[in-house]
């Protein structure tokens, strides 16, 4: 039978599996930010602006923790990580308006009919960064 074991990310020892989700994505973010920063000749990265939607299930604290750990010794180290969150929303055709779900169901809070999920809250974006040249 073929098979193989994979290394756990490229990070320093991290045994808490809860952060694995954020670890993988922050590895990718670090690589992208570093590449862009090098391309524009940045001396230092001051801030990184992310947009993270509610539908993506990434946790801010975990993203920050992973960023700090992964950025050590690299160009983006010390940058302020700003995370703008966007909520999940549903559209009610009867009321012709959007709403955020109550948590117990997906019905419209005004008319109690089930709506349809919109594309809000799907963002997972590196929006911009602030650098020093």
């Amino acid at each position: 039978m073929k098979g193989y074991n994979l290394e756990v990310g490229r990070a320093a020892p991290l045994t808490d599996a809860i952060f694995m989700h954020e670890l993988s994505v922050m590895t990718a973010v670090l690589d992208a930010v570093e590449q862009h920063a090098q391309q524009v000749g940045a001396r230092k990265v001051l801030a990184i602006n992310l947009v993270v939607g509610e539908r993506t299930s990434f946790v801010d604290d975990a993203l920050l923790f992973c960023f700090d750990m992964l950025a050590e010794g690299r160009l983006p180290a010390g940058a302020r990580l700003n995370i703008r969150r966007t909520p999940m929303r549903f559209h009610c055709a009867s009321c012709a308006s959007d709403y955020e779900p109550s948590g117990a169901h997906f019905r419209c809070p005004s008319c109690d009919r089930p709506g349809q999920i919109t594309n809000d809250g799907r963002e997972l974006l590196i929006e911009s960064m602030e650098i020093e040249t």
Partner: protein, 233 residues
């Protein structure tokens, strides 16, 4: 320029617009996998469920149901062990590869690329990826599949769509396993369907039992139909 901007300019501080998907690298790798599967006329399926919902059982049932009509290769994703790979091979899978993630809670496109290297793609019709048991993280990591399937079970209750909306919203089909237990567990079918439809108006919902086989044929027929569509493109 405002005084803030002129001060910033003096210190060489600039804002650089990036607007890049955080998962772009994975998406690119997934697209490469997708092209590769398409070139071989293979239907790629990503099966996502909480631990214990019955992923391996469903795969085993599907292998048996499609025997003689489609050759199934399986990529097994687990944190550790080879139990599931052994099971699907015993069930008659044409080929199987085990990935042990060593702690990672989801499979990623790069892992699938390596697994595809080890599968006999020339002699397969369907590649079924059994993702790590988790209804959250795997949802966001494209692997190159054509079909993303959300598997839940009657025993897990009817509020799964409320707790895990994203996987239900983006799946091409939803499967409820252990339907034979519905009289014994607290499963409000009407609420489950209403919640799923608010997230996903079109995905077919299959009720089945891997234990007694009820409903498996209908699911198998749908899979074959999807395979035909992939080949007709």
């Amino acid at each position: 320029m405002t005084s803030h901007e002129s001060l910033a300019a003096m210190h060489g501080v600039k804002t650089i617009s990036i607007v890049q998907n955080m998962l772009e690298q994975n998406d690119l790798a997934a697209e490469a996998n997708r092209q590769r599967l398409r070139q071989h006329g293979i239907l790629g399926v990503n099966l996502i469920a909480a631990p214990g919902a019955g992923k391996t059982s469903l795969i085993s049932r599907l292998i048996a149901t499609l025997q003689g009509q489609a050759r199934l290769g399986v990529i097994e994703g687990d944190i550790a062990g080879t139990i599931d790979t052994q099971k699907v091979l015993a069930a008659g899978a044409a080929d199987a590869v085990q990935i042990n993630t060593g702690g990672n809670c989801h499979l990623e496109a790069g892992m699938i690329r390596r697994a595809l290297d080890d599968l006999d793609l020339a002699n397969l019709d369907i590649v079924l990826i059994e993702n790590v048991g988790n209804l959250v993280c795997p949802t966001h990591w494209a692997l190159g599949e054509q079909l993303k399937i959300c598997l839940s079970s009657a025993a897990e209750g009817h509020d799964k769509p409320i707790k895990y909306p994203e996987i239900f919203a983006v799946s091409h089909a939803i499967v409820i396993n252990k339907i034979d237990l519905i009289e014994l567990v607290d499963f409000d079918r009407a609420f489950f369907y209403e919640s799923v439809r608010a997230l996903n108006p079109n995905a077919p919902i299959f009720e089945l039992s891997c234990r007694n086989g009820e409903g498996v044929l209908a699911f198998g027929v749908w899979i074959l139909d999807c395979l035909k569509q992939v080949r007709d493109q």
